[in-house]
Symmetry: C2
Subunit: 519 residues, 2 copies
């Protein structure tokens, strides 16, 4: 099981099929393999060999995909860096992984000096963008042109294929070590679960450093379909990319989908090439999900749930269950069924199975599991036990095997001895017509230990009072779950690089000087 | 990657979904897992542990499936035995694999004493059939009833999951050692390639000892679909099983399909539940393939090509290309595209890639490859090189990546310096209206080295002369490929346990006293 296997299959089987399209630039699978083998030759000359880490900090591009394969081809490991990180965090990940080489592009050139100042092992910078090459950097295309193809020296099975940093933004990130089997497996499983076949076109619109995009990317390579690239997400850019490239598949985080639907340039027609729209990386508010279903009835919506520690897929909510009526309805708020090849169980605090329907922690096993957190044996031991990954997500499984996530365990609010799942309250609030976004957290309460607190962004032009929102909740959820306080906010919620709302940042001001950790 | 993973996923996700149906007996995935864990407990008490081999010689049944999982659950390795073997061959495989335990049923009880007499390590017999238990055998259901479930002690990755004997019938068989990853991978890949999903029903009608059935079986378990079982193939029994069980998927070897279509009880209606009919394990004569297409236009035909050394899948010919006209036509004689996860290249005698379109040997890599031939390092080294399996099959790949098998390399006839692919001549003969079956072999010729010789079975009531067949060939293929002699035969061709025509048996009388090996 090699992460380079999909490239070999596609280049050997259909060398003349288009592999990558970026703007006017098109390359076949045969060309991509040849370029990857040359770039690997260049990396080997720089000293990259088995297990050596190579960083990348860049927007989406066809070369980002080649980078992944070329590093694997040398036997090395990729270190894809989060676009939202500060230079200090970027330097931290390079130092932590001892990366000597960093690939970057024009968007990140201004940040490079600050990173270089702190990244102690960094020796070589490769510029993978078009146009003038900044001083002190090597030109990507020169490396390809001036090297001969080398033989694939890729690792396989449990050999390290990459270190994917997770967390961060505040506090330093953990490096998730993913082996070749995990990368390969996600391509294999997601090709089935996302219904990607030869002849399809996958749009990279979510950032390529993140494994949410990775799942679709690997699946696309696995079947020899075509990759198309948009450098970074903007609502209008995403819509234009759909018009221009006519992709059959795309993956977006829920926030992106909301922005696309709300964009002035949006029309249903412009997205008509899409057969399957995959969403994931953060929960989709039910209101937005229903809006998407109703607005785009001919598109198959598929939810992927997972985490970096699983490379990433754990469960998939099939398109057939994205319905509001009929015998497949009632699953809409579910994260779907365990992905084929993956076993999910719901465990109590001692790791034993809870009875069906009760809430516990999602525990996942299968070929996609990480091998460790890099250089963090204690944190590894807390999460990876007997080959199972303890996800930290609270959920129950229904009689049909569907997983319903109730909350991150650490986001669960314990108020007066009752468990409140913030996600449930957020879903309720999101169904109010005046609410554009809602985050629910626990804040310190002398009386209840924690009190339910809502932070709400109103829709443009909409008016609503805190009392009106509490009354609305009262109609839908139990009394103890109703927010005891509501705060209105005008600026967007703080997001991680993957588009997740950073609840710990929202909790922090309330908990200063109190005992609860905010992570 | 454990071979038991599909059972865990299905039993954990949907414990109440029906896993197996045999006659009136139905069991859920939860029940099957519990029974497997108990049977594994019984096996452990008999001393079965990591890597220990356990034999089975039995017709298809729900218990055959449980046997596979229970042996894996102990960490042991299955040794499924060929139903057509002689007692001497059966004893050989037990001796070669040092199996101490043999599971068997009523059909094979009469053969047991002769096997016991020669199988030096055999200590324990388990009777997995219903009704009275023969003296000296343990009762399968007693083992389950009298043991508690044990924890899964399965191997994974490269650990041995089974020894699958191949060859045989004349000469002694070779034991193909397949690891857990190979078994697991075939379930994963075939679930996509055969379009098997939860809710589907797979009919075991080909013998379960053979990996042709294994591919569909593993895929069925992988997605938590339902297995239905017919003890052994008869044309009327297969048709009745389709009527009774309403399977959505079935795998048959081409000979079986021909017999089903020709059976007096056949009607299109009776097979109407089948969405996908998978065929493989031997080449399908083009005449029969076209007849099947025309007779069953609403069934998706999917060809699987592979071999035991690949556990077994190498390539798959999708249903969409089983058409006689339109832009997807012209591939009908192909073995399809490399399976997802599998890389196929066509190599010359030195192992180098041949130019596209030229004939060479099919060389396969991927997670499905065997680890070795048991106790046969020289034969292993000849077939498994740098992780690639050299299949011994001659083929070319077209521009679209479709593999066209021309012959087993050893069945290729070299006549007057020209290569003749026996399969091509057989296909031509099979299109003649009087021909029920045709085998083409090389026989000794002083003038040409080898001469093309055809052995033909006429359709009932049909008349045709050898000259008429030669004339027919002349219309379709080059002169040097035309049989120089035709022999008519009334008895069926000798078949291997997997339903393959044993060409070496047909060659043997001609080559006695000549130099060419007949294998």
């Amino acid at each position: 099981m090699k992460a380079t296997q999909p490239l070999h299959r596609s280049a050997t089987t259909t060398p003349n099929v288009i592999a990558t399209i970026m703007g006017d630039r098109k390359r076949t699978w045969g060309e991509v393999r040849n370029r990857v083998a040359r770039l690997a030759g260049a990396l080997q000359k720089m000293g990259v060999g088995k297990g050596d880490r190579v960083g990348i900090l860049a927007l989406n591009s066809d070369r980002y995909l080649e980078f992944y394969f070329a590093v694997w081809w040398t036997g090395g490991a990729v270190v894809p860096m989060n676009l939202r990180w500060s230079p200090a965090e970027n330097a931290y990940s390079l130092n932590d992984s001892n990366a000597k080489i960093l690939f970057t592009d024009r968007a990140f050139t201004p940040a490079i000096p600050a990173i270089q100042a702190e990244a102690k092992d960094l020796e070589t910078l490769v510029f993978l963008d078009d146009g003038d090459v900044p001083e002190g950097m090597l030109a990507y295309e020169d490396l390809i042109a001036s090297n001969e193809p080398v033989a694939d020296a890729s690792g396989s099975g449990d050999d390290m294929a990459g270190i994917f940093y997770t967390g961060g933004t505040t506090g330093f990130p953990k490096g998730v070590v993913l082996p070749h089997r995990a990368i390969w497996f996600n391509g294999m499983a997601c090709s089935k679960l996302f219904h990607i076949e030869a002849g399809d076109k996958y749009l990279h619109i979510a950032p390529m450093f993140h494994l949410a995009d990775g799942a679709g990317s690997l699946a696309t390579s696995m079947v020899g379909a075509t990759h198309v690239f948009e450098p970074m997400f903007t609502p209008a850019g995403a819509i234009a990319a759909c018009e221009n490239y006519k992709p059959t598949h795309a993956l977006m985080v829920p926030t992106m989908i909301g922005m696309v639907l709300a964009d002035p340039s949006f029309s249903v027609d412009k997205l008509s090439s899409i057969k399957t729209l995959i969403y994931g990386a953060s929960p989709m508010p039910e209101g937005l999900l229903i809006q998407t279903l109703k607005t785009l009835p001919s598109i198959g919506l598929v939810q992927g749930y997972g985490q970096t520690e699983l490379a990433p897929i754990a469960s998939v909510m099939p398109a057939a269950y994205h319905v509001l009526e009929g015998d497949k309805s009632g699953k809409l708020r579910s994260a779907g069924l365990p992905a084929y090849g993956v076993t999910i169980r719901i465990a109590d605090e001692d790791g034993n199975d809870v009875p069906r329907g009760e809430v516990g922690e999602i525990v996942v096993s299968g070929p996609g599991t990480m091998t460790e957190y890099w250089n963090r044996p204690e944190e590894t031991a807390a999460v990876l036990k007997d080959g199972e990954v303890y996800t930290g997500d609270g959920a129950y499984m229904d009689e049909d095997g569907f997983v319903f996530i109730v909350d991150r365990l650490k986001d669960m609010i314990i108020t007066g001895g009752e468990n409140v799942f913030s996600a449930e309250v957020e879903n309720t609030l999101s169904n109010h017509p005046a609410v554009a976004g809602a985050v629910v957290i626990g804040i310190p309460s002398e009386k209840w230990g924690e009190a339910v607190h809502a932070i709400v962004i109103k829709k443009e032009g909409a008016e609503v009072t805190d009392q009106a929102l509490m009354d609305f909740c009262k109609e839908h959820i139990a009394n103890y779950k109703i927010p005891r306080s509501v705060e209105f906010r005008t600026e967007p919620f703080p997001l991680s690089g993957a588009g997740k709302i950073m609840k710990k940042d929202l909790r922090e001001p309330y908990w200063k000087g109190h005992g609860r950790g905010v992570a």
